[in-house]
Symmetry: D2
Subunit: 380 residues, 4 copies
């Protein structure tokens, strides 16, 4: 008998109440009954982004919402500033390139966080690059950027700041309106505690001015159709996922978004302290609260660690991605995760490392996590 | 107390066992455990299309799969033949135009079915139009085309025949390989008996040759990524919808695809006979088995009929779409629909028409349906 | 593909929302969290009985609640008046006899309804028989008694009127307090629209006076333990069924109990009219609204009718029970049943009878049902 | 956000797959379709008891099955030997007394385990006491008896050995046939991993000889009706719970009963080692693997410990019952429980004790548990 613990940065654990909400009878999407649910749900989704802008839900993975951000905001041949410090920064670049956009890349070492100064410099050098693509939480390296400080630079200019919050939403504080972020994209299967299948975008007025007249070819993700039909979808919406979203938002509101952020902060802190207590090193220069990227100790292999934890202990963590696939492993603390999930993951890690020959004194990681919880609160 | 009967052409009723399959624990998509399910499920999905080609599942509405067909097969500036005889033919045209494709339109009256001869003529006039976009079942008019005969014309040429099976799949017989159809797109929320959220595409080798080198901008729907990662998705797949798909296919196999086609044929026949017995007229010149488009009798309004049926009787049928929105109403018989659903819908229609002043002798429509079932079989 | 229609008098169809409520996480029963749900639910259950008395929920079938009524109210060797006009009257008698109670039987033909006068006469002849056991709806014969008139006779005496509402509750009007009924027993799987597994009892003060000092051996069903622990159960309660009960009551309240009664009245009326239109005869002298008992036409067999309807059409009706097992078949209209379920059942009956050689003009039964619904309302 | 961890000895955590099995469509219980499921399920239930005897399922709590054992085996006025060493021994006594049975009590200190010698002595002193009621796992004290040794004494005599396995089944090894135990009663909400609502009994031939002619008044629990109707229930069975039982048995078989026993043994061992590492004392003289009863340290209160763990940490453990309610608290490791659940419970206990003023060095309990798991295996 093995229970499954998803401690990977998406999909994340889904509460039974959310799963059951998704099992309710599918009703027809063009009925007043469904549109009422849809409108109410999208309306409340603003809370997740701390915005008064409309939130649009795509039937797609997060990557679809990223594509929507690109094709609705930039034209082929135009310049865009893209921060690349990991796999998801690379994805922004790839999408831009697929659409013939002229990428001004801020290329960083993986694990580094872009600084406001670096953004400012690129803006100055490229006054014709109107859109800046960033990754609030770079999942591939466990790194968080100072989005608020970056928005401080862009907000009173004609530049549009886009941020990938696919993994970051709810795990890292985000106050879209207060900070002046222009475009946010997100997915359902991370902090929102749903299965994968929905993606989200929300835009400031400044961004909408561009969208309206943007010429880049697009159809399925053309935001003008979504706006025109709001709250209805232009294409058939994923009815049962809207039920789930409704339930998830209800649970997030019950906890309170500040408490959700705080819970993730503490889980992140506990995980970092635990791995350090086990003598391990963090990979990121600026670690965030979505997942903790840990350097694989000498003599061990990332794949063996993740495989043993998953197949023997039922704990799914993530290895590295792309060029650092064997350099790190990543323990997430994202979404529907409690202090005991983190304690469980740490104890599984201790067993695993020990079994692979790394010296572990059982309970040392857990103790460090527990002391963090004791000091910081159990948050939830 | 009102029970809900979805007799509209999508979303369609979802069996409880499919809904419950979707409520199982979300597991991580990059695990051998999930990939095994994914592979098995996509493998078995071939049966639905009667093909040995790979089937790819998008996280999207059916429209997303239509966009994938366009952007993977045609380049901006190139010609494509598009049959337009209703709203979904128009959608092919709109997508092509959004991507700068030169549309050679075969424009028909709504309600007409394109003939093989019309296709042949367009092919001759436009030897440089390599791709032909058709709609097997044009849901907006309740019309089915003779896809097999059309494929007979294209199959031994260098032309690629694409068909929108979003509503038609499983309701209208389709033998992709035997007939020589090149590209089929479909959605989850119709004959497949799932909630909306997944879309499908499958392609012949001839089509793949084009895809590989097609230059049209695309990313999320770029089939090369799907092929490269198969059976995994390049982006996060909708894990729980894959569970549902697995369950749906199981149920379809248990019934047997020939029986599924036959059930739809009989349900369609019974519905047509029932509305004719009530003195109503069919709209389509070549009615299909997805939905029956009925002309609104003089003095009545389509919206009032659909509203009363839905709000008083719980039976959701569809009005008309686009330019014929008040000309017709449409009763579907699509997906998880039994003879009793059809009998219920007909009796609800009788009540509704009577209440709106149309002369009805109660039971006449039902009798005609019952006689059809008696003669043709209850199929299921 | 066959859909299942339960048109038998229990278990009855269960709404998906009730099933899903039962799939929520089981929590511990001795927590304030659960006790709050339990208290609220039992409190609201009074509405179903139209009483201000406490309702107790047993983990048992309805028969368990019947046994509780017997063993808590009568002592071995004492007399009890028992009305026997069918299988469930016989059950009262069997339980009494199992506990050594001296049964004063009012033995009627099956299909007859006991009259107030018959009760009055038995009371006079047996002044020492303090408890009277009746069956509001005798499911085995489709008969309803005039419970209100009977209560009129008992209410100002020292006699205790017990009624089996296992099938009758919500299908037949019951106003426990207003009418002066003393003890009511019920089950979950009928009008309450739940799966089987819970049974209920509620008692007047007059009845409680007896219970307190009754000497009949009992433990599991000893009401004194239930009262002492209320709202908690003395033994582990069926936690997830309490969730379902909560949901069912919510749905019943939304419909309104008068509407629920009225819906059952109209469904009963429509079914009776339909079978009469098909030339069939009713069995009961005083037919009720739980199920319609129909005499098997000459030359047919009850078992063949029920088997064909179930195995070919998916419609489960009931045959006869006990000594009339081949005399009748019974079509229920109980619980979560809509007009379309009744129309479906009638059409299935028409097909079935026709196939078994009974002359049917298709649609005649359905027409009669439809005309009833047209005249009486669709109720719901 | 708080997750719920049920570490109390019933109800225990229910796997999502079991909950979802219970949400399937309720079908009619008197159909071949259901009887097939019922027969298969009851047939496979024998495995849980390691018997070839038939298993009967009551719609009741475990107490109902205990009452069935008493009323089917002993007559009022007859003697029965009853071991009383805790609350559930007391329950045997209470039931016997409710039915006028002459109780020969083997009264022990709570926390003690009856010895084979004590049983033998009582048998000799009371040759007319044909039935012996024992409690394999006395949940109220966390004690297990040596049932195999006791059966060794009774098996070749005319005495009938009854054991309450309501909490013990699957947590403590039981080989009914091999050991020669005569009657076993169990409940669904413990090792069987279901919600409460079903109870079970299974009997040897020797026991059945008594049942057939036993005169004790009974009806609902009269085993003769169950035998007569097997595999059908004499009263309406809890259809959806049978679905769940089917799923639970499937999962138990997949794990293998020896592995289930071993998992419980190791979880028990780890829990005992953990509490001892925290300086706490065990209550039981012969601790079992259902739950660990721990003495409340001086200055603390049982209720405060359980309340804080539940309300702050979401971990539901149990206090004491009856006369030792403030002497102990009990941490279960019963049913669908993994090593990480136990680690979580121990860490929650450390937080709780520390917060209530008991000196704790964080991680010491967890370390002891982890070392046990390391040494004994993670079992599952």
């Amino acid at each position: 008998m093995k229970k499954h613990y998803i401690m990977a940065p998406g999909p994340t654990p889904v509460p039974v109440d959310v799963l059951l909400a998704g099992a309710k009878e599918t009703i027809h999407h063009r009925t007043p009954q469904f549109l009422e649910i849809m409108e109410k749900t999208l309306d409340e989704a603003r809370y997740l982004f701390q915005t008064s802008n409309r939130v649009y839900a795509f039937v797609s993975s997060g990557t679809g919402a990223m594509e929507a951000a690109v094709t609705n905001l930039v034209n082929p041949g135009e310049k865009a500033i893209v921060v690349v410090a990991g796999k998801f920064g690379e994805r922004w670049k790839e999408i831009c390139e697929a659409y013939g956009i002229n990428v001004v890349e801020i290329a960083l070492e993986w694990g580094e966080a872009v600084t406001p100064e670096q953004i400012e410099k690129a803006m100055k050098e490229h006054p014709d690059a109107k859109v800046i693509f960033t990754t609030h939480s770079e999942t591939s390296t466990g790194t968080v950027i100072d989005l608020q400080a970056i928005a401080q630079i862009t907000r009173n200019t004609d530049r549009v700041l886009v941020t990938d919050e696919v993994s970051g939403l709810l795990a890292e504080p985000l106050k879209m309106d207060e900070w002046g972020v222009d475009v946010v994209v997100a997915g359902s299967q991370k902090g929102i505690m749903m299965p994968p299948g929905l993606a989200f975008i929300t835009l400031s007025k400044k961004a909408w001015e561009i969208v309206k007249n943007n010429k880049c070819p697009r159809y399925y993700f053309d935001l003008r159709y979504y706006e025109e039909n709001y709250p209805d979808n232009p294409w058939t919406p994923a009815v049962n996922m809207i039920y789930m979203l409704n339930q998830s938002i209800k649970m997030i509101k019950e906890e309170g978004i500040e408490n959700v952020w705080e819970r993730h902060r503490i889980l992140g802190e506990a995980t970092r302290n635990a791995v350090k207590a086990l003598g391990l090193e963090l990979f990121s220069k600026r670690p965030g609260n979505v997942c903790t990227a840990v350097k694989v100790p000498a003599g061990l292999e990332s794949k063996k660690i993740t495989k043993l934890m998953r197949d023997k202990y039922g704990v799914t963590i993530a290895g590295g991605q792309g060029k650092i696939s064997n350099t790190i492993f990543r323990i997430a603390h994202l979404g529907y995760v409690s202090l005991f999930d983190t304690i469980s993951a740490i104890s599984a890690l201790e067993f695993t490392l020990h079994e692979l020959g790394y010296p572990v004194k059982f309970g040392e990681g857990v103790r460090a996590a527990m002391e963090t919880f004791h000091k910081e609160g159990v948050a939830g």
